[in-house]
Amino acid sequence: MSQVSKPLIEVQNLTRRFPSPDGEEPVTVFENASFDIKRGEFVCIIGHSGCGKSTILNVLAGLDEASDGVVLMEGREISGPSLDRGVVFQNYSLLPWMSALKNVMFGVRARFPTWTKRQVRDHSFKHLSMVGLGDGAEKRKPSQLSGGMRQRVSIARAFAIQPKLLLLDEPFGALDALTRGTIQDELIRVWGDTDQTIFMITHDVDEAILLSDRILLMSNGPYARVAESVVIDIPRPRNRADIIHHKKYYPIRNYLVDFLTTRSKNIAFIADEGGDSRNIKPQTVRPGLVENLKNISKPEPVTTNLTHNELNKKLAKGAQ
């Protein structure tokens, strides 16, 4: 098999349990999550609060360890954090005693230790300019920047180290709609220019559709699963104003909202003791192809022999 067709990231049967506070059985946040991320792909993950999205991202970043399962990057198991995987944290995580430029330089210096000071500076400045902060704002400390500007610094820092995979944890969660829009545009542009692979958590369905190639849907925890993989086949370049007029937009949006409001509750809150959910990739769904939304309950399974719905029936029977 050639290296090119292999996915960049393979997540296999990832499970995370936390010890319960009262010392009883550990709480299984999610179980047997398996999915791939292809090179250059923009993947978003959506799910209700507490289902374990940040935990998955932290495992991918190497900051947290799974209780079970592996994550492969280019075929090799990841252990611990690496400069190959850049992270933009939900709360920006800039170092407050450094200026915006120094924050980016901090990353660049770590990534390219042999570079001269001038190279580090220029490279950092270039990336700050890419997110519109090259006009004097680079000299300011994070506390002197607005929330949106801080988030852009954080994005610039992540892009500047040119990681193979960029992990974004609800990067725009704390921003107002207008700022959010501007930075989304910047993110798409920078992503388009650099061919980055991006894995991003969001709560915002419209944001996910605008940005992603594919959206992973997580059911509610405990025993959350990565249930479906929704393909967003709306052509690029996309922009916020026009995308809502695309004929696939609302079918996709309705499908996602339907999942979040009703179906996410109904999938798997039972421990899978027989291991039936192992090695099952989320079923691929293309709501954009479905003309009639009534048909949505029966999307064609693609990558697996057993869909999550069938699996749940089986597990539910076993539990009775």
């Binding site: 900051l63 170092l95 770590a110």
Partner: protein, 274 residues
């Protein structure tokens, strides 16, 4: 008028009026022919011992400060020399304490095991008055100079140790994660992320320590004697020279203020806003 101009003017006014009241409240020196028989018998000793008026202290200050470095043998040295001795002891003891407290505080702050292991010792040793160590120090070290330094060491170590540990343990996990995702090693994480993040807390500890050290050195020097501002105060008290006593008290205050101001400046330089 701005508050920054008003406040110092008022301070000055307050000082002047206090000095005037003090001056007026001090009984005038009687000339010899007005003395009672008893006073004559006492050779005017009670007059020597009266609280001197501010004018006498100002005069003393001018006299001492115009020649602060003279040295006429063990019991008569200029105020500058005495202060220099005290500062030397404080800075030596304090630096030794910093040399141990900062790395140890780092260790305690970063490792819960080290924290749990050392905590009982710290809890017991911390509340001991530094002067209580003096006899033991004199016995073991057999040198009054080194004993004074040791007392300074022991009194300045605790605030630095505890604040360093506290600051290091309290560094936001996100910042440590930033270091981790950038593959920074332990040493570079400690120096580039944890140190600057904890610096304001560490400096608070260092500032408290230098304050305590300056308080303690006076008492320590009264005990060990020989040189230093503490010895000077005690010596002048034995000479019943209250003018010098008050003058040196003021000098102690000023030097303490300078030390504190220095740390305040460093503190504001490394302070950051989240």
């Amino acid at each position: 008028m701005s508050i920054n101009l008003k406040a110092p003017l008022l301070s000055l006014l307050l000082l002047l009026s206090m000095m005037v009241i003090w001056e007026m409240a001090t009984p005038k020196v009687k000339s010899a022919e007005n003395m009672t028989e008893y006073e004559l018998l006492m050779g005017g000793a009670s007059e020597e011992a009266r609280v001197p008026p501010p004018s006498a202290i100002v005069k003393k200050a001018i006299e001492e400060l115009s020649n602060p470095l003279y040295d006429n043998g063990p019991n008569d040295k200029g105020i500058g020399i005495q202060i220099a001795y005290s500062l030397y002891r404080v800075l030596t003891g304090y630096s030794l304490a910093a040399l141990i407290a900062l790395p140890l505080g780092f260790l305690i702050g970063m490792s819960p095991l080290a924290y749990k292991t050392l905590d009982p010792f710290i809890q017991v040793l911390k509340p001991i008055s530094p002067l209580a160590w003096m006899p033991l120090a004199l016995f073991i070290i057999q040198d009054s100079e080194a004993s004074a330094i040791f007392v300074i060491f022991i009194c300045s170590i605790w605030p630095m140790l505890i604040n360093t540990a506290f600051g290091v343990a309290g560094v936001r996990k996100d910042w440590v994660n930033v270091a981790k995702t950038h593959e920074l090693g332990t040493l570079r994480t400690a120096l580039q992320v944890i140190l600057p993040a904890a610096a304001p807390t560490i400096l608070t500890g260092m500032r408290i320590s230098i304050g305590i050290a300056w308080l303690v050195i006076v008492a320590a020097e009264m005990l060990v004697g020989g040189t230093g501002i503490g010895y000077y105060v005690w010596n002048e008290w034995n000479n019943l020279d209250l003018t010098s006593v008050i003058f040196s008290i003021l000098v102690i205050g000023f030097v303490g203020m300078l030390l504190d101001t220095f740390f305040a400046h460093v503190q504001s330089a490394i302070q950051y806003q989240e």
